[in-house]
């Protein structure tokens, strides 16, 4: 018997309970991580409806795969990220040709003057295209660290890198991205 409420319990305890079939425990994990997983999927897909559908799939598949998850220093959020990447792979396989960032929804268009919108749309297209053109792990580190503003330590654990390697990867990723969009954004 634990004294803590489910929302205060550690991931490890909630995972253990969820493995025993406790849906409420998994619900707590869902509420804890739905935001970063959705944000990640939205950043990759650029489409809120698809991001919503896949977010749900990620958590359902994560629940099904709980038996294969052993914590041992590997955060549950990193496990979810791995599942999310696999869900994306399956999604892209079904949805060829890949659109990804190229279809990014516009979040602010209607509030800007037309000419400004046109320029901005052009810049967004250039940036999206550049993001598609750089290596995948460059894109991943930019999405996680820059777009989602996740701490380097979390990005490192999600990408299975040391923090030092993550910083170097980010540096190279931004240099590569800058090379692609030089003067255009």
């Amino acid at each position: 018997m634990t004294d803590t409420t489910p929302t205060e319990q550690s991931d490890a305890i909630l995972v253990a309970r969820a493995r025993e079939g406790d849906a409420e425990a998994f619900g707590c994990l869902y509420r804890r991580y739905v935001d970063p997983i959705y944000r990640y999927l939205f950043a990759r897909l650029g489409e809120s409806k698809e991001a919503e559908d896949l977010t749900e799939d990620v958590f359902f598949r994560a629940f099904q795969a709980l038996g294969t998850y052993h914590e041992r220093g590997w955060p549950f959020s990193a496990f979810l990220y791995q599942v999310a990447k696999n869900v994306l792979i399956d999604h892209y396989r079904r949805q060829k040709p890949e659109v990804g960032l190229a279809n990014h929804e516009l979040a602010f268009d209607s509030l800007r003057p037309l000419d400004e919108r046109v320029i901005r749309d052009e810049q967004m297209r250039d940036l999206r295209q550049a993001m598609e053109d750089i290596p995948l792990n460059y894109r991943e580190v930019i999405i996680l660290r820059i777009i989602l503003a996740m701490p380097t330590s979390v990005v490192a654990s999600w990408m299975n890198l040391t923090e030092g390697a993550t910083r170097v990867l980010l540096h190279r990723a931004l240099a590569s991205l800058r090379g692609k969009v030089q003067g255009r954004i």
Partner: protein
């Protein structure tokens, strides 16, 4: 000695953090930093523009609430299969592999005492529809339960997939048309389990090349049977062929997704994807010491853009004849016990696909 590359990376990270936390301008974010600050500022500009042009968006509260309710319903509906009956995966997680092994050993004893060694051995040659086929399947699931690593699971499941294809060939040779459909469905299910097990492998695993080659061969064998199979088996054949091609594509994607060109092995931690999947798998906690990360930098060689050598489109795609109208596949008709299905929770939204384990 800290390399310039590493020094800039550290400055960039600190300055970007200041931009986030203090809403600092680029010039302010690098104040107090020594070194090649001028080289870092353009990158901070790019980072800032990327944040402006591709803003992060969170889920709506309505979606969160509705999605959670749907998710919990799906979980409750699937719980009896995934958490209670799945002795292999969930059992490993709950009790550890020793307990699974003990359970497997107990089942083996029961099988052996009931049927005898000769019968057990004879079951190895059994085909779908044969009386001994369930024994063969039972022995397979026992051997699967005894594996202690993701790579062991993959190796075994790949062997099972090979066996399913051989069974299909034998059934076709014997004109056992009624059993052919079951054989093809067995292959499809085995491939689903293999797909799930592959998720647990590190994307750079050398096993992936081998598995990809073997599944490609399955596709070729299955397609070579097309003209010999009766109409009733064509739909199942199409499903099996399509699944095998998707599995090959999936492996390509997994390998491509790794994109390890820029980070040398010395900077990668032990495989995450394999972590915790088996008791002999590398644990993420066993990450490489970062005692002097700066010495890592010289190994970080800039590479050219990713090549297309791993494009899924390069997967050998056998030409397909027009498919007969496919009827949705009923969710797992269980004519015989299907022991090797640890996580076959049905996906309600996709009735035509065999549920895949993750």
């Amino acid at each position: 000695m800290i390399s310039k590359d590493r020094l800039q990376a550290d400055i960039l990270d600190r300055a970007f953090q200041r931009m986030l936390e203090e809403n600092a301008a680029i010039a302010d974010s690098t104040k107090g930093e020594e070194g090649a600050v001028s080289d870092v500022r353009p990158l901070l500009e790019t980072a800032g523009r990327a944040r402006e042009l591709l803003p992060a968006r969170g889920p709506s509260p309505e979606f969160i609430a509705a999605s959670e309710a749907r998710l919990l319903r799906r979980i409750k509906a699937s719980a009896p299969r995934s958490t209670k009956q799945d002795f292999r995966l969930a059992g490993k997680a709950r009790w550890g592999w020793l307990r699974s092994a003990a359970l497997a050993a107990a089942i083996t004893l029961i099988v052996l005492s009931a049927a005898g060694l000769s019968v057990t051995s004879a079951s190895a040659r059994a085909l779908p529809g044969d009386a001994l086929y369930p024994v063969k399947q039972g022995l397979e699931v026992i051997s699967l339960a005894l594996t202690v690593s993701a790579s062991g699971d993959v190796a075994l499941l790949a062997d099972f997939a090979d066996a399913r294809v051989e069974e299909i060939e034998q059934l076709a040779a014997q004109n056992r048309n009624a059993d052919l459909v079951a054989g093809l469905e067995n292959y499809d299910k085995t491939l689903s389990h293999l797909d799930g097990a592959l998720d647990q492998l590190p994307p750079d695993s050398i096993q992936l090349d081998d598995i990809r080659a073997r599944i490609t061969r399955h596709t070729q064998v299955l397609l070579s049977l097309r003209d010999r199979l009766p109409e009733q088996a064509q739909s199942a054949l199409d499903q099996a062929v399509e699944h095998s091609q998707q599995s090959v594509d999936r492996i390509w994607s997994l390998q491509k997704d790794q994109g390890t060109e820029e980070i040398p092995p010395t900077l990668n931690k032990e495989s995450t994807t394999d972590a915790g999947k088996g008791d002999d798998a590398s644990s993420p906690t066993e990450k490489k010491p970062d005692t002097d990360p700066h010495t890592d930098t010289p190994e970080l060689t800039e590479t050219s853009e990713p090549t297309n050598t791993l494009e899924p489109s390069q997967t050998p795609k056998a030409s397909k004849t027009p498919k007969p109208s496919k009827t949705p596949k009923p969710a797992e008709p269980t004519k015989t016990p299907k022991p090797a299905e640890p996580t076959k929770t049905p996906k309600p939204a996709k009735p035509t696909k065999t549920p895949k384990p993750d």
